[in-house]
């Protein structure tokens, strides 16, 4: 039981990190509370599903590398387009943050059901069930595990750390070692100042959409190696955890966000298990535990800054 808990704690921590770190960065640059991250995860997973079906039926094998690249490109492109079509025009109208958030809700519904339609059409064209797809095996990963002498190890145990690490590495390298990355950080800190110092804020924002959405889609790819039934609800089912973690981090601090990812993953895996073993509670209380953490966060340590409310109530609590 404990080993199982440890494994899922490990996997889910990585999954949450892969989604929330780009989310926080994206918020700092774009200032949109963006519920379409749910779509990014789902689109990442479904690019993998469609590709898997195509590759298997045409070539008989499938590659993780190819999947990651396509998921990244598809999701990144969707994010850039949604910025151009929705968020950029709204930001130019100088609407309040609430309106951006409401717009992201609208976009969420549209993208969600577009995917449903796409997978329905693909299902009937290919005469297979894509709305509930089985776990995907990537042949290049199998090759890798065999080489490393890890025969019989679940792919998720390899793919999760691999992609999470890759995501962090890409983020770190892009932000710290490239000029455009430093521009992203400058905009995240202070977009007015950045634009005064000659940074093309518009282009940096577009790039951020592409990069963060692309990285988020990796979580969807990770999911395909873990879940036994991949459905277009993947992203939606993660949104409570993802935003709870992001809000624990106050949508600004990466360290707090990472801590939040571990906390939520721990509460979900160990907490649920403990409660069901010792108190006989059903495992379906999992989301309630996450929700309790959310409420506790709001009460004990409400996020400061932009995600916060009228600041005077926090400065009072922040007395040290």
């Amino acid at each position: 039981m404990i080993t199982q808990d440890l494994i899922s704690f490990f996997l889910f921590s990585l999954l949450y990190l892969t989604v929330t770190i780009p989310l926080v960065l994206a918020y700092r640059v774009t200032k949109v509370i963006n519920f379409t991250v749910a779509n990014y995860i789902t689109y990442g997973a479904y690019t993998a599903v469609l590709l898997d079906y195509y590759m298997r039926s045409s070539f008989g094998h499938n590659s993780l590398l190819l999947t990651v690249l396509s998921s990244f490109a598809v999701t990144g492109l969707i994010a850039v387009l949604s910025n151009l079509a929705v968020f950029k025009p709204l930001a130019e109208m100088r609407v309040k943050g609430d309106v951006l958030m409401i717009a992201s809700m609208g976009l969420w519904i549209v993208l969600k059901y577009v995917l449903y339609i796409v997978s329905d059409i693909a299902s009937s064209a290919w005469r297979t069930n894509l709305v509930s797809y089985s776990q995907i095996h990537y042949d290049d990963i199998s090759l890798l595990t065999v080489r490393a002498g890890l025969v019989g190890v679940q792919q998720s145990l390899v793919v999760f750390p691999l992609l999470a690490l890759a995501s962090m590495l890409i983020l770190y390298l892009v932000l710290n070692a490239t000029r455009v990355g430093r521009a992203v950080l400058a905009v995240a800190d202070n977009s007015v100042l950045a634009s005064l110092s000659g940074i093309a804020v518009g282009r940096v924002v577009s790039l951020t959409w592409f990069l963060t959405a692309g990285l988020t889609s990796l979580a969807g790819v990770m999911w395909t190696t873990y879940s036994g039934a991949i459905t277009p609800e993947v992203g939606d089912s993660l949104i409570l955890q993802v935003f709870t973690i992001a809000f624990i981090g106050g949508l600004s601090s990466l360290t707090r966000t990472a801590a939040g990812a571990l906390l939520i993953s721990g509460v979900e895996n160990f907490g649920t298990d403990l409660l069901s073993t010792y108190l006989g509670l059903p495992t379906s209380i999992k989301p309630m535990l996450t929700f309790t953490v959310l409420l506790a966060t709001l009460i004990v340590s409400p996020p400061l800054g932009v995600a916060g409310g009228v600041p005077y109530r926090f400065t009072r609590g922040a007395r040290r």
């Binding site: 519904i109 409420l295 109530r313």
Partner: protein
């Protein structure tokens, strides 16, 4: 032969229940509460109503039948047919309890959400709705995924089914009238101006001397209570409820209605609701006749709801019937 009168009665009942939701949302939005959890309070009301409407008659008549098996449902139907006093009083009790439970729940939720900005308020309420839905889905005494099926119609004892429908319609619309009265009186008063100030700049409202957290709590408690009653009305109208009826999509549907008509315009909200709810209902009515198609019409319907939100926000942010004039009508 299509039953035109029946169609119209159902449509207007449906619109009426949606109107309560959109009117209360208009008041919430104009007070700066981004309520993405309408469905939480609505569902809570519906489940409270269903709980009372099924367990109570069975308990009073001393039956040991479960409201989830055929015997229980049959028994509930017989009771509602034969005992008008019990049937009606259970309904009235449900209305009151639906209001009280939802209002109390809204009041309790304001404690954590006072501390945070509107984005977090929206998300917290959204997750509240989802968590409640999962709670219904996994709780045996609430019927799990099947939900309640034998909620008695409060006018089942009337000999004519059409009469029962019409009476119910009148009750729904009386409540719509009450909600309209409450919302418009508040929005067109000095309090309405304070709410608007609070929405635009909470700090200024505080500096003007208004205890904004307290005011927000009261508004959310009131609107949640009314939303809860709408839930009860839905449960007794449909006579069966299940967790699937209370997904976040319902909340977005109402947001789309309010945005379409014009945020913080009462008339706009009503217009948007009538338009979208009619389309929605007509779609529900027509879709079964289409049969199986390549593209599920229901998905298209949701895409349209989302697009309506986006297009209005982008092209006509003030909505179809924007609010005119000042806050006070002297």
């Amino acid at each position: 032969m299509i039953d035109v009168l029946g169609f119209l009665i159902t449509l207007t009942t449906y619109i009426g229940i949606y109107l309560v939701l959109s009117l209360t949302l208009t008041l919430e939005v104009s007070s700066g509460i981004t309520n993405f959890g309408k469905v939480a309070f609505y569902g809570l009301g519906a489940y409270t109503g269903a709980l009372i409407g099924t367990y109570l008659p069975l308990a009073i008549t001393g039956s040991r039948a479960s409201p989830f098996d055929v015997n229980g449902i049959q028994l509930l139907y017989t009771i509602s047919k034969s005992n008008p006093v019990l049937d009606l009083s259970v309904f009235l009790l449900s209305l009151a309890a639906g209001f009280a439970v939802s209002a109390l729940f809204g009041l309790l939720l304001t404690y954590p959400i006072h501390r945070v900005g509107s984005a977090l308020v929206g998300f917290t309420l959204l997750s509240t709705g989802e968590v409640l839905r999962l709670f219904y889905l996994n709780t045996e005494p609430l019927g799990e995924s099947k939900g309640f099926m034998g909620i008695p119609n409060p006018f089942a004892w009337l000999p004519q089914a059409r009469g029962a429908e019409a009476l119910y319609l009148i009750i729904v619309w009386c409540f719509v009238g009450l909600t309209y009265f409450i919302v418009s009186r508040i929005m067109n008063s000095p309090l309405g101006r304070i709410l608007k100030g609070m929405r635009d700049d909470e700090l200024v409202a505080l500096y003007a001397g208004w205890p904004t957290p307290l005011i927000k709590s009261k508004v959310l408690a009131l609107t949640s209570g009314l939303t809860g009653v709408a839930g009860v009305l839905w449960a007794y109208y449909f006579t069966s409820i299940n967790p699937n009826m209370f997904t976040p999509s319902l909340t977005f549907n109402i947001w789309a209605m309010v945005i379409l008509g014009g945020i913080d315009s009462i008339v706009g909200g009503v217009l948007g609701t009538v338009l979208l709810a009619s389309v929605d209902y007509a779609a529900r009515f027509v879709i079964p006749f289409i049969g199986t198609t390549l593209v599920t019409p229901d998905y298209l319907r949701w895409i349209i709801v989302g697009l309506v939100m986006l297009v209005v926000l982008l092209k006509k942010p003030e909505g179809l019937a924007p609010r005119r004039g000042g806050v006070s009508k002297l």
